[in-house]
């Protein structure tokens, strides 16, 4: 991780139907870090991710991703950011490799390159060769999540936005997925913005966390610093869950 901010928001605000979902949000994510993005349901995390990608227009404020404005340069931003939505969908009649080739096609890759990238992504996420030609509609939840990450990896992104990637996975599946995310961050220096309710897993891999409640970022720091701030000691004595609940109850 270095000290260069790769994502920066200033006064980011989003109103839906006269309701403020994201309220003057300002935070920074450094290059190569894993940033845990926490908050209760409806806190505005997904809306923030959509604004970072340029898929939703902010009502106020500004966003910068790798120095680019997602609204002015949507294609460039989407080329360097891989996004795994909370309920990622697939075309059930396609097989795993076809799904990846389609994503590669959307990214402007030629057929041969698309095949190579697809196979490599499938290997990285740990899907075995016997499922490459299996229809995605028959995949388990865990396999679909892995395939979702493989689709994100096809375009070789610099930044990963993962929205609840462990949702619905069994403990073993969640653990393996978290290890995969950690290895992508470590081996490929990918910056990861991880939105999750699985605080135990987030604590294991996050360099810093941000806690968002009712559209506000109420805390943003390393887990150790947050523990010190709330309990006066380092994070060895307190879990992220306890720290999070402390902020949640106080707000």
């Amino acid at each position: 991780m270095n000290s260069k901010a790769i994502i920066e928001t200033t006064g980011l605000t989003k109103n839906y139907d006269h309701q403020t979902v994201v309220d003057h949000l300002s935070f920074r994510i450094m290059e190569g870090e894993v940033f845990g993005f926490l908050g209760p349901n409806g806190a505005g995390k997904t809306t923030t991710l959509l604004m970072l990608l340029g898929l939703s227009e902010p009502s106020e404020g500004s966003v910068s991703v790798c120095g680019l404005d997602p609204l002015r340069n949507p294609k460039e931003v989407k080329r360097i950011v891989g996004y795994l939505p909370e309920n990622v969908g697939f075309y059930g009649d396609m097989d795993a490799l076809q799904s990846l080739e389609y994503v590669a096609d959307l990214n402007g890759m030629q057929r041969k390159e698309a095949r190579e990238k697809g196979l490599e992504a499938l290997r990285v996420v740990g899907l075995t060769e016997d499922v490459y030609r299996q229809q995605v509609g028959t995949f388990s939840r865990g396999m679909k999540q892995r395939l979702g990450i493989a689709e994100v990896l096809v375009k070789d992104p610099k930044v990963l936005f993962l929205d609840e990637p462990t949702l619905g996975l069994d403990p073993d599946g969640a653990l393996r997925l978290i290890e995969l995310i950690r290895s992508l961050n470590r081996d490929r220096n990918m910056t990861v913005l991880l939105s999750s309710h699985d605080l135990f897993q987030v604590q294991k891999i996050s360099d810093r966390v941000g806690i968002m409640i009712r559209g506000h970022m109420v805390a943003e720091n390393s887990i150790e610093a947050l523990a010190r701030d709330k309990f006066g000691v380092g994070d060895e004595k307190y879990t992220l869950e306890e720290i999070y609940m402390k902020y949640f109850r106080e707000d």
Partner: protein, 321 residues
């Protein structure tokens, strides 16, 4: 452009491999072949020992031997193809969670709707051209008459009009798939609009004409009243794409039709009718085009308008997961 081509290719493959499209296409192709075959057999019998008249080949498409001709059948059931191609274009992507995945790729958002619309139009084009070509082949074998250049041009214009007509209905279905989140809702809304515009408007036109210019028990000039009645009915009916298409395609495929309006008949006096009957030669294609030009412009305009509204609504819609 890269996203547009990728989505176009996928959508095209989806259309041709979907059961619902294959079934509907098979139904329309089958009925078209049967009606054209019956028309061909009937024409062959009637033409025996008769000097070869002009434009026999076109009669394969517009001769009403069975319940309806091929042209009438397409005007009635063609919209179903359009509706089937578009009713779940966007809302299925949304409900399956693939829409966000698509637009988070480095493509512009309009590539999604453009790709879907273009793939639909291509599917309609391939379908119509193949049906017309197969029927033409039938005709060649059955009648032993080679179509003239003008007949081929007329068929090409007919196919073009049909493409716009069915594309309009596909545009309506795509618009509803953007407006309604439920797939069943968008399907029902599309079918309801089709039924309303195809049946109820013409019924309503009659009722309105009866109300505004009743034909029975009216004092004064009966001829003027009939013309007024017919004019009201015709104006209201022209608000339906089916009427626009039926009149345009019938005039193009049947060169002896020199007007789309029945008013011309009412307006003529007895001597004018007698005089006009002496000049019943078929119109050249250029003249037929002039006759149906307003219909063509209206069909193209409503198709483009429908697509433009779909495009705008889709682009301006908030994306929420």
């Amino acid at each position: 452009m890269q996203g547009l081509i990728a989505i176009y290719r996928k959508e095209l493959a989806d259309h041709f491999s979907s059961y619902r499209f294959v079934i509907l296409f098979a139904l329309i192709a089958m009925v078209s072949f049967i009606t054209s075959y019956m028309a061909g057999v009937s024409l062959k019998e009637n033409l025996e020992g008769v000097a070869k008249p002009k434009f026999v080949f076109l009669m394969l498409f517009n001769t009403n031997v069975a319940l309806f001709s091929m042209v009438q059948f397409v005007s009635f059931f063609g919209p179903l193809i359009g509706l089937v191609l578009g009713f779940d274009a966007i809302n299925r992507e949304r409900s399956d969670g693939t829409l966000v995945k698509l637009i988070s790729q480095p493509i512009f958002r309009d590539a999604v709707i453009n790709g879907k619309f273009l793939a639909g139009v291509t599917t309609i084009t391939i379908m119509l051209v193949s049906i017309v070509l197969v029927i033409s082949g039938f005709g060649l074998a059955l009648l032993g008459i080679v179509p003239g250049i003008e007949e081929i041009w007329r068929l090409a214009v007919y196919v073009l009009i049909s493409i716009f007509y069915i594309s309009f209905w596909m545009g309506v279905a795509i618009l509803f798939s953007i407006l309604f989140r439920g797939i069943a809702t968008s399907a029902l809304a599309s079918v309801a609009l089709w039924i309303f515009l195809s049946f109820f408007v013409s019924m309503g036109a009659g009722v309105l004409a009866n109300g505004m210019a009743p034909l029975d028990g009216v004092q004064g000039s009966k001829r003027e009243n009939i013309i007024r009645h017919a004019r009201i009915k015709e104006i209201v009916t022209l608000f339906t794409p089916m009427a626009l298409y039926s009149q345009a395609s019938a005039t193009i495929v049947d060169p002896t039709l020199n007007t789309t309006s029945i008013l011309a008949f009412y307006r003529m006096g007895p001597m004018e009718k007698l005089s006009a009957s002496r000049f019943q030669n078929p119109l050249p294609l250029g003249q037929s085009m002039v006759v149906v030009f307003p219909h063509l412009v209206a069909l193209i305009a409503i198709t483009l308008l429908c697509f433009a509204v779909s495009y705008l609504v889709f682009i301006l819609q908030e994306i929420r997961t």
